[in-house]
Symmetry: C2
Subunit: 227 residues, 2 copies
């Protein structure tokens, strides 16, 4: 019984990898770099993207693929910035899927103007578990963790912190009002993903957002990408 | 292909329902009431339980079943209060399961001293999607939502808010430091689950925790439960 369950899961991940490679081929054909942006619910992914788009990304043309169980609240927020935004809702699954997988992304690619953008930011469903398990064809994974969530999250959700190339620590404007040990968070991040890049910022006040903007510009740089 | 996928999901939920009923029968046999406590990561479930156990539950004997992907950080915190705590780790699944299901709870029941408690609090994995989809044999579902997560969460994760008998709004001590519209949250909760009980509190300062303690005492009342 347990064996069978594991095999089904492995099959699902194998199928996902195959479709992720097909997505990757499409992105490469159009020279589009892709960032998979993940976090717990309410950690501030959309507010961070709003802060970035408010300043702009220079010559880099960005698009967003917005993943939500239901609705288009975040997509509507980002549409104000004249960035092409495509919505994926995951509530076709039973009760709603808690993550994007390669096939869901693939099903939406026809609506994404890949030939008009350099960087596609995929805003995943708010969840610290399953989004980390499914590659979607991205170049890099980044996560946002909010200081309001406590310092223990890297130890409780290690795969998410381990799988990312960047950990954004958000809502630092609230630090004076919390019992929070930032050193402990950094220590815990290092414990599960030694040497991973991290940055501190407040999407709300704008403090430190420039660092994330620069990271996105580097992530979207087509130098070295297949022509 | 899509048909098959949906059928597998339905089969999984049917199997879950059967096992949840077996759990329910065990709980009834021992006259134990069960609360399934859910939230996003870092919303404050464990801090709230700490605040409750600090004051105690009167004559009510409580136990905790602690669900985490990995580790026993929360169980260790609660063990200080001389409450029986049993840990379930979900990382047997691929990368870690993002929720507790009836079978995971069943596999741990041998370790739970059902004959010594009146109320079992199941602290689910931090996630606003899948935990709402799997009954585990509970009498009531409660969720904690933190004001730091934004007012839009009921609309983005409607099943979670719809499936609960109680919505605890936590971290209200931070309201003066946030751009947050509490009326909007209440409006959104009402939109997806009209008339659902909700309460405002701060597990950190203790403000309003008494209300949740009283709710637990009522939830644990065996009056009307099978002998």
């Amino acid at each position: 019984m347990h064996r069978t369950k594991v095999r089904v899961a492995e099959d699902a991940l194998d199928a996902n990898t195959t479709i992720a490679q097909a997505n990757r081929a499409d992105f490469d054909r159009e020279s589009v770099r892709v960032v998979n942006l993940m976090s717990a619910p309410g950690a501030g992914k959309t507010t961070l993207l709003e802060a970035v788009f408010r300043e702009g990304l220079g010559a880099l043309r960005a698009g967003v693929l917005e993943g939500d169980v239901q609705g288009s609240l975040d997509a509507d927020r980002l549409a104000h910035f004249h960035v092409p935004v495509t919505q994926i809702n995951t509530d076709g699954g039973f009760g709603g899927e808690c993550h994007l997988d390669a096939n869901m992304v693939r099903s939406a690619l026809g609506e994404v103007p890949l030939d008009e953008i350099d960087l596609l930011i995929i805003e995943n469903v708010g969840n610290l578990v399953c989004p980390a398990e499914f590659r979607v064809g991205e170049d890099a994974k980044a996560m946002v963790c909010s200081v309001t969530e406590g310092e223990d999250k890297p130890l409780k959700y290690p795969l998410m912190f381990r799988t990312c190339e960047l950990v954004v620590v958000n809502k630092i404007d609230l630090l004076p009002h919390l019992d929070y040990d930032l050193d402990k968070l950094i220590y815990n991040i290092e414990a599960v993903n030694p040497g991973v890049e991290h940055m501190l910022l407040s999407a709300r006040t704008g403090e430190g957002v420039e660092g994330f903007r620069d990271w996105l510009v580097r992530a979207g740089d087509r130098e070295g990408a297949p022509a």
